[in-house]
């Protein structure tokens, strides 16, 4: 036997043998002797101890993981206990062992729970256990596992309860956490059921058992059950007392009651949990609603018990069983030991149970709100598929942190449900739902789409409560302290804004806030006794960045997209920021500089990033010139740093981000050539770096830059608005409108130009298709792909390749329709869809339908968020396009009405953002269009009036705008029209 290292061959065998035991197998020693006869003697002398030691080690692990550190003692399986004949063991957990048994006198199958003697402990505790079990037996509720009775035999305490054919919610969570998404979501039941080995217990085939996969499919709505989609009260209880021959039926039925056993079934995978959770599955709406319904039913059952004066004390996914009818069953009522938690907090070893324990329970107090808390955490875990709090957080001592927001990791969860869940999990009992009934009622409200009563916890409250729970903050350095105080103020103001204008819309903001808390908390946890200056600095810097990020993100329209898109595909919105923000930021910048001066660490990157943030905020406030300057400063700083670190892709991406913002700023100021120039710089910066080409993020940014170039290129090639049939005035061709930079030869014909755009578009599409293939779940890629496809449609239209244009347009709309369906509450996709629907009318009847749909979507957006300028702008533009169609169809009067409506919105935007030339342009063109109509209707005074207004406004602009050419050109056209009308 030749082996790769210097170990004894039997050592290799021993290692394999031990590995199999660790994996939960039961390898036989004789098997090894047979296959390796030459080592048989040695195997016989070495393996028994390995077997023993490994089993002991495994067992210790189990007990540790199931939270039962004290009762390492194994209970044997008795043949019979009292009236009960034991058939088999079906579960093992912290409380004891669960057997399937037959009650001889009644000939019924029951689940028999035998309490470990160590758990039962002293005589006093035993008495209390019996009292509790007796009162639990008095509970009669359609969602509570009935307790038939309790008894004692051979010195063992046991109680009998109904046997439920179902799976615990812990198993379901575990399954969803480890199963690949397509297994979970497979519509084909047989496929899914054929592979249950990885999720259900045991290796034996159990043909008719209601398995985890069935339960999951049920929850996802793939298969329906009696109870899942109907009212909870109709849940059927499974009563086997009528079973004619219970013993014979056993093996076929394998009715299973499992409690606390999920950990036992999956030894050795603890290291993978985080990873699996991160991959996870995508939850559909059916699942989310079914979970809400299930938990509402549990809350109902818990409320019923509370009214009888019985607390559960140990609600957790492993104690909730879902049966094949979709009925949820609460097990182990009142059986957890009461207020005897000293050992628990001291050993810190029973994370399994600790995980769901309310903070007050750790202090030995419990009331109805304690059960609410545990149920809240259970709901959390079912929705997020990972525990709300991890072990170090749980055991970190006196303070218990807030649970992270659900939508941070699972944006598909509705905001209301998130609010409900978080309210149930608030650490302070007085701020939680005060009863299970309140909790249930809010869940029902959510299910019926009625407004919920829970209110989002405001940021100021969170900060305040956080600092109260974290006295460690006092040990931070003075400069950091000041920064923290400033942050608190800014967050407070941010919160005010949110309440007023943004409500729950701004996920970006929430994420930033969350990060801030998590970072600070993580630090506080690690700190304990020592606080390091270096770490403090990092904290301060990251906190600072978070504040910038969240202020910058404020007022942006819904950014559901992942961080890949935070360079915003959509120009940012302005309205909810105020100049007070800038003042505060400047104050913060002062602290930042001080901090930088106090520390020797090189902060140039952080400083450059901060300048860029300032630019973002100025841009959002419409201070475009200031923004441009800030961006330039930041860009220069980055270039200096990049000079020292030429291979750092992140620096190039940072520069790309700034160039992108500069492009947007230029575009807003009407400086299209400058904007295109920025995009070209961006593109060459990106293509020059191999590191960028290697990263998905880099390729994505590149594709977006190309997308932008194509869009601008198309705009300068043909401005659709000018192509409207112009009957009253001379048409001013777009070719005259070109003010391109020197490297764009004027002689380029439109077709040549289009060819160039086509190439670029093909390149962008190729990158994006690949990215979307590599990561189909990324919504950012899909949105960008839709945009590139839309550009393709526009190019085809200009080339008069109508079929291709239609095809591409339908594809773009298809992508966005899908996104909108997947995320119906996302404004972002609604916006993109509306924008695409209203693109480039070709004056066919189908276009009108699309425009009307776009109008409807825009109206919803504007009504929901009157302060977001992009929504209003798109609404007005859509109206103007509808008016164009109406004109072509000869519906002049209606066109006039529509245009007036558009005019109102344009005017509002132009007045609100005088610096943003785009809005002024749009207003002028709408006025011009309206003047056409008036002229056609021979209402010359009105026509003149419209043109005069447009001219006066633009003249005001031309005097202060740096962008002379486009303004002058438009002014010339307006004046020309005006002169034809005479005085």
């Amino acid at each position: 036997m030749l082996l790769d290292d210097d170990r004894h061959p039997v050592d290799h065998l021993a290692e394999e043998f031990a590995g199999r035991i660790r994996a939960g197998e039961s390898p036989q020693i004789e098997e090894y002797c047979r296959t390796h006869p030459e080592h048989a003697d040695m195997i016989r002398s070495v393996f028994p101890s390995i077997q023993m030691v490994e089993r002991a080690s495994q067992r210790e692990e189990h007990h540790h993981r199931s939270g039962d550190s004290r009762s390492a003692t194994v209970l044997s399986m008795p043949k019979a206990l009292g009236d009960f004949q034991i058939i088999r063991e079906i579960g093992r957990g912290g409380m004891g062992v669960v057997y399937e048994a037959v009650q001889k006198s009644l000939k019924r199958h029951v689940a028999l729970k035998v309490i470990s003697a160590l758990i039962a402990g002293s005589e006093k505790q035993l008495k209390r256990f019996r009292r509790e079990a007796e009162s639990a037996a008095s509970l009669h509720h359609s969602n509570i596992v009935p307790v038939y009775g309790i008894g004692e035999d051979h010195g063992l305490q046991y109680y009998a309860m109904q046997l439920i054919d179902g799976v615990t919610l812990a198993e379901i969570i575990h399954h969803l956490r480890i199963a690949p998404p397509d297994t979970v979501l497979a519509g084909d039941t047989t496929v899914a059921v054929s592979a249950p080995g990885n999720c259900t217990s045991g290796n034996k085939p159990r043909p008719r058992r209601f398995g985890t996969v069935d339960a999951v499919l049920q929850l996802f709505g793939t298969i329906t059950s009696a109870d899942m989609l109907v009212l909870p009260e109709s849940g059927l209880s499974v009563d086997l007392s009528g079973s004619p021959d219970p013993l014979a039926a056993t093996h076929v039925r394998s009715q299973t009651y499992i409690a606390d056993t999920i950990e036992d079934q999956t030894p050795g995978d603890n290291g993978n949990e985080e990873q699996c959770a991160a991959e996870g599955v995508c939850l559909n709406l059916a699942y989310i609603r079914n979970i809400a319904r299930v938990i509402a039913n549990v809350a109902g059952a818990v409320e019923y018990a509370h009214r009888q004066g019985i607390l559960h004390r140990d609600i957790k996914p492993a104690n909730l069983i879902l049966d094949r009818d979709g009925t949820i069953w609460v097990a182990d009522f009142g059986l957890a030991k009461q207020a005897d938690l000293e050992g628990v907090t001291q050993t810190g070893e029973i994370v399994g149970t600790l995980r769901y324990m309310a903070p007050e329970q750790l202090r030995g107090e419990a009331d109805v709100r304690t059960d609410v808390y545990a149920l809240g955490l259970t709901l959390y875990e079912l929705l997020v598929l990972k525990p709300a709090l991890n072990a170090p957080q749980l055991l970190s001592g006196q303070s218990r942190p807030c649970v992270p927001r659900l939508r941070t990791s699972r944006p598909e969860i509705p905001a209301d449900l998130e609010t409900i869940t978080l309210k149930a999990c608030i650490a302070e009992p007085e701020r939680r739902y005060q009863s299970a009934r309140e909790f249930e009622a809010d869940l029902r409200r959510f299910l019926e789409d009625r407004p919920i009563l829970a209110r989002r916890v405001t940021l100021v409250e969170r900060l305040w409560r956080w600092s109260r729970r974290n006295p460690l903050i006092a040990s931070l350095s003075a400069a950091t302290m000041l920064l923290m105080a400033a942050i608190a103020i800014i967050l407070g103001i941010g919160n005010h804004h949110i309440r007023e204008a943004l409500d729950a819309r701004n996920i970006e903001y929430k994420r930033a806030e969350q990060n801030l808390f998590e970072k600070t908390l993580a630090l506080a946890n690690v700190e304990r006794e020592r606080v390091r200056a270096e770490t403090n600095l990092d904290l301060a810097i990251s906190a600072f960045e978070e504040v910038f990020n969240n202020i910058a993100a404020r007022g942006r329209s819904d950014s559901l997209l992942d961080e890949l898109s935070d360079e915003d595909l959509l120009p940012s919105a302005d309205a909810v920021l105020s100049s007070a923000d800038v003042t505060l930021l400047e104050t913060l910048l002062g602290f930042f500089d001080r901090l930088a001066a106090e520390n020797s660490k090189d902060l140039s990157t952080e400083s450059a990033a901060a300048r860029r943030r300032v630019g973002d905020i100025q841009q959002q406030l419409g201070r475009l010139e200031n923004a441009q300057q800030s961006y330039q400063t930041a860009l220069d700083a980055y270039r200096v740093i990049a000079g020292k670190r030429p291979d750092d892709a992140s620096l190039i991406l940072a520069q790309a981000g700034i160039l992108h913002q500069m492009m947007l700023t230029s575009a807003k100021r009407g400086e299209i050539p400058v904007a295109m120039q920025k995009l070209k710089e961006l593109r060459s910066a990106l293509t020059a770096s191999p590191a960028v080409n290697d990263s998905a993020n880099g390729r994505f940014v590149l594709a977006n830059a190309i997308n932008g170039l194509v869009s601008f290129g198309l705009r300068t090639a043909v401005e659709p608005r000018y192509r409207l049939k112009n009957r009253s005035f001379n048409r001013t061709g777009p070719a005259n409108n070109r003010t391109g930079p020197a490297n764009e030869p004027q002689a380029l014909s439109q077709n040549q130009k289009l060819r160039r755009e086509t190439d670029a578009n093909v390149e962008a599409l190729e990158i994006l298709r690949k990215l979307a293939d590599e990561e189909p779940s990324s919504v950012a890629y899909r949105v960008a792909l839709a945009q590139a496809t839309k550009d393709k449609a526009r190019i085809s239209q200009l080339l008069r390749e109508w079929n291709q244009a239609d095809e591409a347009m339908a594809a773009a709309i298809g992508i966005l329709e899908d996104l909108q369906k997947e995320f119906p509450s996302s404004d972002r996709f609604k916006y993109e869809l509306a924008d695409t629907l209203s693109t480039m009318p070709t004056f066919r009847p189908t276009d009108m339908q699309r425009l009307m749909r776009a109008q409807q979507l825009c109206r919803e957006l504007v009504e929901a968020h009157p302060t977001v300028p992009e929504y209003r702008g798109l609404y007005a533009a859509t109206l103007a396009r509808i008016a164009g169609m109406q004109l072509v169809q000869g519906k002049t009067e209606r066109a006039e009405e529509t245009l007036k409506d558009a005019l109102m919105h344009h005017q509002q935007l132009a007045d609100q953002f005088p610096d943003v030339l785009m809005y002024e342009f749009a207003l002028a063109r709408t006025l011009q269009q309206l003047a056409h109509i008036y002229a056609d209707e021979k209402q010359m005074d009105l026509a003149k009036g419209s043109l005069d207004t447009a001219i006066t406004r633009l003249e005001k602009h031309s005097s202060r705008s740096r962008v002379r050419n486009p303004v002058v050109l438009l002014l010339n056209r307006l004046r020309e029209s005006r002169s034809k009308l005479g005085d």
Partner: protein
């Protein structure tokens, strides 16, 4: 194996504390297991493995530079040493603080090597105890511990490292300063010896499972 070591070292050199945090969380579970195994049973109810880990993390992050400067040790082995040192410190503090804990001692214990015996004995007794017995017989515990004590200290340690800490033979060799061949041979010898001990214990305590 060396590839991993080099990778870890390179990560730590390049990303410093960020890399340390991520590596630490990779080994978190194993270290916790090691602490639970090594934790003095007398204070198990007072000390939380997670607390020790947190403290160990702070220590390692303090001493990261010294690791990077050394060349002769793999990261995991170094991390384990740091963690165990932290554990020793924590335990020492505990015993100083709570003198009365010492009165609860049921079994004599001197030095770390005996600590290993005690730890192993504790776990094995749990496994050996026949089903009818709920409370472990202190006499048997004593006997097993003595038997384990009679084993060569290094052999005993090898068993603990291989099975309770689940280390590889190479790691064991590195920790104990043995060649892999010697470590492997001693491991097999120790396992055979333990089999004998257990067999005798089993026949003393009546029919086991």
């Amino acid at each position: 194996m060396n590839g991993t070591h080099d990778d870890e070292r390179r990560m730590l050199r390049e990303d410093g504390h960020t890399a340390l945090a991520s590596l630490f969380s990779t080994y978190h579970g194993r270290l916790e297991k090691i602490i639970r195994f090594r934790l003095d049973p007398r204070i198990r109810s007072r000390i939380d493995a997670v607390d020790v880990l947190q403290e160990a993390y702070l220590e390692t992050s303090d001493r990261l530079q010294s690791f990077l400067e050394s060349t002769d040790v793999s990261f995991f082995v170094w991390l384990r040493q740091q963690t165990l040192q932290t554990l020793v410190d924590v335990q020492r503090r505990q015993f100083r603080q709570k003198r009365d804990v010492n009165r609860e001692i049921r079994f004599a214990s001197t030095g770390t090597s005996d600590g290993t015996s005690l730890s192993i004995a504790q776990f094995l007794i749990d496994q050996l105890t026949s089903p009818s017995q709920v409370v472990v017989n202190a006499e048997e515990m004593q006997w097993l511990q003595e038997a384990l004590n009679s084993m060569n200290g290094v052999d005993r340690e090898i068993l603990a490292l291989r099975h309770f800490e689940q280390l590889t033979n190479n790691q064991v060799a590195e920790i104990l300063g043995l060649t892999p061949t010697a470590a492997s041979n001693r491991y097999l010898r120790a396992a055979a010896r333990l089999s004998e001990i257990l067999q005798r214990l089993n026949s003393n305590t009546g029919p086991a499972r």
